[in-house]
Amino acid sequence: MVIGKKKQIIRMSSSIKNSIETKNLHIGYQQKKSVSTIQKNISVQLHKGELVGILGKNGIGKSTLLRTLTGVQDAISGEVLIQGKNIQSYSLKELSRLISLVLTERLPESQLTVYELVALGRQPYTNWIGRLEKKDIEKINWALEQTEILSLANRHFNELSDGQLQRVLIARALAQDTQIILLDEPTAHLDMHHTIKIFKLLKKLSKEANKTIIITTHEVNLAINSSDQLILLTDKEVVAGSKELLIESNSFDHLFSSEIVNFNSSLEQFIVTKES
């Protein structure tokens, strides 16, 4: 029954040109002999102009999936296709013009200014010494404007608050001018106000710049209501589709243990289970 639904979900979204697609992807870690698979049979199709949320509890493989989608980590089996071509057929240089990243890792403490940091996003396009041409400067300014950090441009990045820094990192990814942007928990250290602002920004960027923006997040309720497509990682399987389809197939019920939180399909969000 559930499998039938999944096939239907996949078929429905295959008409538009895919920017990123996985086929029977198995993800996990490989060492010399031992293979530990974390998730199996991931088949999703993500399109231009979509904000995609990857949801799941801690340790379920969200970050592993993200790393596999970027090519940082090899898939155990199956394929990742970027604009119809296997990710491994691209060189690092080509990939740098297709995919940009916003990671959770702390930046080493340097004296880079916000402008310099965002300008690093232009490296795939600049010459051997990194000279910024007119087009590069335009892209950088556009990225600063979109993320509303123009006023911070000359500050050192290490003086910024977490919320400001997150915008700077998003601006850097925007300056890289890629079709796909992947963000690993972009709201991890932010308060509610800044979290919502980031979600709104990402939503706007996916629509106005027609980008595919993929995020992993623990902000389930926000993600459910602002993503165009969701990828749910559960103990049993990986399901993907729009909010409506996933509600219809009761897929949200498997995301967390129902003793703690329950999905309320009329409110379209998770509610903490009341102790009886």
């Binding site: 740098s96 080493p108 403490e109 340097s110 310099e116 600049t126 051997w128 010494i129 990194g130």
Partner: protein, 324 residues
């Protein structure tokens, strides 16, 4: 200017206008002055500039590569590795004789042995550093490698005769003098080989400022660039240690002084700035080494440590923070 001051100081005092005359290719009033300037003081000043700029560049590269403000050729045991290369050559020649003796007499042999020593330690530190990923552990590992190489050198010393030990100890004090023009040519050739390679890695170095994962996503081949950085650092540290002895602190202190003065992390600015400042600072150290008693010259290694260590402490106290 510092160059002129440096040349003008020494056990024989020579008037400044005479120095300028000699440097411009004119005759001086005493022929011995011309000899002193052209064969002793000028080579020494040039050596000081090469050593100062080379070590500072090596230090900057290490700080960026290891994402650690405390990294430097001396702290990470790379200088010790170079020393080990030299020890094996000088002391080993006494113990094993034969081919080693022949090689130890040539300046190329010394430079190559110490470069190989530097490269081996740097490579070992890098491999282990990749496994621990914790910056504190990296420094401790560097320290351990330094200790191990020192221990090996002690063992060699134990089995060597007094002559060789004395030769090695004097080398260990560090010295900017005593290089012939021929040796300076060898020095400069290897130095230049290292410096030329810097041109290709300015962009990768800047992208490394935001971490390896971001750098990779910007299309940077981490492995290749890391190897180039490794090569440059070993060449520079190796050749400098071979010709001038293990010189402490310049590699650590100069990049920080430069970063403090220029308030930037951009390697387009930092690399040339560090090179120039490094050259100037070592010239100054050399001047200090000659000032106290005009008859003798203090070991340069002692002077750089005496100046370098307080500078680093002062930086830490004042800024409370050192940047990569």
């Amino acid at each position: 200017m510092v160059l002129l001051v440096s040349i003008s100081l020494g056990s024989v005092s020579i008037p400044l206008d005479e120095i300028i005359a000699v440097l411009l290719g004119n005759d001086s009033s005493k022929s011995s002055w011309a000899t002193i300037i052209l064969h002793f003081r000028l080579p020494k000043a040039i050596t000081a500039m090469l050593v100062g700029s080379g070590l500072s560049i090596a230090g900057l590269l290490m700080q960026t590569l290891f994402k650690n403000p405390l990294a430097g050729p001396f702290v990470l045991g790379i200088s010790s590795g170079a020393s080990l290369g030299v020890a094996i050559l000088i002391l080993g020649a006494g113990i094993f004789g034969g081919v080693l003796t022949a090689i130890s007499l040539s300046s190329w042999g010394l430079a190559i042995a110490s470069s190989i020593g530097a490269a081996l330690v740097l490579f070992a530190v890098l491999i282990t550093a990749n496994k621990v990923r914790n910056t504190m552990s990296i420094l401790i590992i560097g320290l351990m490698f330094g200790t191990v190489t020192s221990a090996i050198i002690s063992v060699f010393t134990f089995f060597s005769n007094a002559d060789k030990i004395q030769q090695f100890v004097f080398w260990g004090f560090g010295s900017l003098g005593n290089l012939s023009w021929n040796e300076i040519l060898v020095f400069f050739t290897i130095y230049l080989t290292g410096i030329i390679n810097l041109i290709g890695i300015i962009k990768p170095l800047n992208s490394l400022l935001i971490g390896e994962n971001y750098a990779k996503s910007l299309g940077i081949n981490i492995k290749k660039n890391r190897n180039i950085i490794l090569l440059i650092t070993s060449l520079l540290t190796g050749v400098i240690t071979a010709f001038a002895g293990p010189i402490a602190f310049i590699g650590l202190a100069v990049p920080h002084i430069t970063k403090l003065v220029f308030k930037t992390s951009d390697h387009k600015i930092l690399l040339p700035a560090v090179a120039i400042l490094g050259a100037i600072i070592l010239l100054v150290c050399d001047i200090v080494a000659q000032l106290p008693t005009s008859e003798f010259t203090l070991p340069i290694n002692a002077v750089t440590s005496l100046i370098g260590a307080p500078v680093v402490i002062w930086l830490l106290v004042r800024k409370n923070k050192l940047y990569v």
